[in-house]
């Protein structure tokens, strides 16, 4: 029974992995799965079969574990975000495995949008290269709370402490230009297994924890905003049954803060105030709800509230405006249309918007602002101004990743074309 008990005590860490094509990212994930015994025998056999079919080296190709679709196996590269799962007795992990090429920035942004932690692989022979800078920039732009640089292929630089310190200094200098709070460095060899799950015997000079230890112990419950109360109304529950004749519940997922029974709340956009009568769930009433819990709130007063509205506290309100400044990552092959109109989704609210201004584009390798180049193509990151048809209730993305994010949708094709972070 001990196993079943401990399992229900675990929490969940979502992380992304980014690296250049040959940085050994797939090998690292394979190593984490392999050394934590998360690989099943039939998967292992499938890989052994595929390894020999591709005429690769004699050792098992751990990278094959993470390559899913046939097109990828043929091209030998990962082309999309793939999600992997593993668990240790301490935690359950979800990996958003994203490709490292420049043309796939959009996938990296996608994977990063839900992550608590990013692993960035750096080849010990090459140190900080353009792609490393790009990955670190995207991680900071998406406000991933924890950043772990794995200096990989240490076996190819004779496990040199000097080389590691050199790269670390270089990375620290670069990160000082970014907005990241928690940055860590670990010297590893994914291929040989040094400092991935087991502590390396080849690098006595490294006193920090292994990558697995870091993943298992890093403190993540502080990553959510538990200060600013934000409850976007997602769905109105009206049972129309005898037992719940007058019941009217507002279903949603807490986006920030802590809501307690009896709390005085304000409703947006109406500005009316009321009190929380109850927090209903299938399993009974709750005294309080916090992010990211999905609950249903019932209010004391019978007020008109629908999807897209927001329940907040009168003394701590989000901005309610029709003009928003966003950093946008462009996801579509069709470039952004200056003065173009797009559909927009923000929390549970739908709106339309017009692109009023393109302020500048960011060179994601150097972080320079390019004010004369205003053609926003796929994988570009730019600062733009939007005017929306209805007010959005938002916070700065840096303050709240849920109420600070939005997507832009092409109204003709319905494709998601832009990922926006509100400044």
């Amino acid at each position: 029974m001990s196993q079943t008990d401990s399992y229900t005590d675990m929490d969940l860490l979502r992380f992304t992995t980014a690296g250049s094509v040959d940085d050994g990212k797939s090998t690292l994930i394979g190593r984490l799965l392999y050394d934590s015994k998360s690989i099943f025998q039939d998967q292992m056999e499938a890989i052994e079969r595929a390894s020999s079919k591709m005429g690769g080296d004699e050792s098992i190709n751990l990278a094959l574990l993470t390559d899913g679709l046939r097109a990828e196996r043929e091209q030998g590269i990962t082309i999309d975000v793939a999600y992997r799962y593993f668990a240790t007795p301490k935690r359950k992990f979800i990996i958003a495995d994203t490709p490292g090429h420049i043309q796939y920035t959009r996938n990296m942004v996608t994977g990063a949008s839900t992550a608590n932690l990013a692993i960035i692989l750096v080849d010990a022979r090459n140190g900080l290269v353009e792609q490393t800078a790009r990955h670190a920039f995207i991680a900071s732009l998406l406000r991933i709370p924890h950043l772990v640089f794995c200096i990989n292929k240490m076996d190819l630089v004779d496990y040199s402490e000097e080389r590691y310190e050199e790269i670390r200094a270089e990375l620290e200098a670069f990160c000082s230009k970014l907005e990241v709070n928690d940055v860590r460095f670990i010297p590893i060899s994914a291929l040989k297994g040094d400092n991935v799950v087991h502590k390396s015997k080849n690098m006595d000079w490294y006193e920090g924890g292994t990558l697995m230890y870091t993943l298992e112990t890093i403190h993540i419950s502080g990553d959510q905003n538990h200060v600013d109360c934000r409850f976007p109304v997602q769905y109105v529950v009206r049972p129309h049954t005898d037992e719940y004749h007058d019941y009217r519940g507002y279903a949603g997922r807490v986006a920030g803060g802590v809501f307690k029974k009896g709390d005085e709340v304000m409703l947006l956009p109406s500005g009316f105030t009321s009190k929380i009568k109850s927090i209903t769930t299938f399993d009974g009433e709750l005294e309080q709800a916090f992010a990211p819990m999905s609950v249903t709130l019932c209010l004391e007063d019978d007020l008109d509230l629908s999807r897209g509205d927001m329940i907040v506290r009168a003394n701590n309100q989000p901005k309610a405006e029709q003009e928003v400044e966003v950093m946008v990552c462009w996801m579509s092959e069709k470039p952004l249309t200056p003065n173009g109109k797009y559909a927009l989704k923000h929390t549970t609210r739908d709106a339309r918007c017009i692109v009023k201004d393109i302020k500048y584009k960011v060179d994601i390798n150097t972080l320079h602002r390019m004010e004369d180049d205003k053609e926003i193509k796929m994988n570009d990151i730019a600062r733009i101004s939007l005017r929306t048809t209805v007010p959005l209730f938002f916070d700065r993305y840096g303050r709240n990743r849920t109420t600070g994010s939005l997507i832009l949708i092409d109204e003709a094709t319905n494709e998601t074309v832009g990922a926006g972070m509100i400044i």
Binding site: Y7, F40, Q41, D67, G249, S294, I407, N414, T416
Partner: protein
């Protein structure tokens, strides 16, 4: 007292799935939930009951019946429908065969598994459903690892792995053209272990097939199959009585059993934890070729 504002991984997964289910109800006009009678769809339905409590689940269940189901599955399904009062729609593969829309496979490995796709797409069209929720999990199979929560299908019901909409934060884009529909996978992020832990934690009823029991079986290509009238046995295949259980529940023709004496949830969890074979390792439909699942998904499979 110091307050800790953290959730366990099961609570977080539950909250995410409930959020997705509510998005479906809010964004689509006529959604339907695919229900196979297997543990994943049972958990998904349980989550739907939570999502809309105290109201009833605001969409019907759709069961694609191959006619080759285990009796236990059908009995379980009917009891659940009776208990929860939800509306059930049955799409019949036998009907599709009778109407000449599909042709039954012949030979020893004949299975109606592939035929389900036609019946499924027909049922979706007939009901004019614009979203079909399925219990697919990304950890099941490598082609599923890239599936989105909201998966867009063209008007032929096909999946294009190269042209999927990016899915950012929790902002799900369910906009579509006339005639197109979505597949939605609310339990994408759950693993087999999560499902079992949750079933135990929530005391969710599941069909007896999952617990070890005595059954007449025979072996084919290393897979233990239940003896039934739906399978043509080769002369050398010997039926014997063994103690087995099923890790997944599909058609009798292609769902492999495992030799097991796990007759309680605790024992099943211990078994899953120490298992060295994935649950789909017992599915002969996945063994047909290395990219079998990818091919079936493109055509509109679950």
């Amino acid at each position: 007292m110091i307050q800790s504002y953290s959730l366990t991984h099961l609570e977080e997964l539950e909250s995410e799935s409930v959020y997705v289910l509510r998005e479906v109800a809010a964004q689509f006009e006529n959604p339907v939930m695919l229900f196979s009678g297997g543990k994943d769809s049972i958990v998904m339905f349980h989550l739907a009951r939570k999502a809309f409590f105290p109201a009833k689940v605001p969409f019907p269940l759709l069961h694609v019946d191959t006619g080759h189901n285990f009796d236990e599955t059908i009995a379980f399904r009917d009891a659940l429908i009776e208990k929860t009062g939800v509306n059930l729609i049955v799409g019949s593969v036998q009907e599709s065969i009778d109407q000449g829309k599909v042709v039954e496979e012949k030979g020893f490995n004949a299975s109606r598994n592939g035929l389900q796709t036609t019946t499924l797409l027909d049922s979706l069209e007939k009901g004019k459903y614009d979203a079909a929720m399925g219990g697919g999990r990304r950890d099941e199979e490598k082609a599923r690892a890239k599936e989105r929560f909201f998966s867009h299908r063209d008007d032929f019901g096909q999946w294009d792995p190269k042209n999927q909409r990016p899915e950012l934060w929790n902002l799900f884009n369910g906009r579509k053209q006339m005639g197109e529909h979505f597949r939605v996978f609310p339990i994408s992020n759950w693993t087999e272990m999560d499902i079992w832990q949750y079933i135990m934690h929530e005391k969710i009823e599941i069909p007896s097939l999952y617990f070890s029991h005595k059954r007449r079986v025979f072996e084919r290509d290393g897979v233990i199959l239940a003896d039934s009238d739906f399978i043509n046995k080769r002369p050398e295949e010997v039926v014997e009585e063994r103690i087995v259980r099923f890790r997944t529940i599909g058609d009798m023709t292609c769902t492999g059993a495992t030799a097991s004496d796990a007759d309680t949830l605790e024992k099943i969890i211990e078994e899953v934890a120490s298992s060295r074979i994935t649950e789909r390792g017992g599915r002969s439909d996945d063994k047909r070729s290395e990219a079998a699942m990818e091919d079936r998904k493109k055509q509109g499979y679950f």
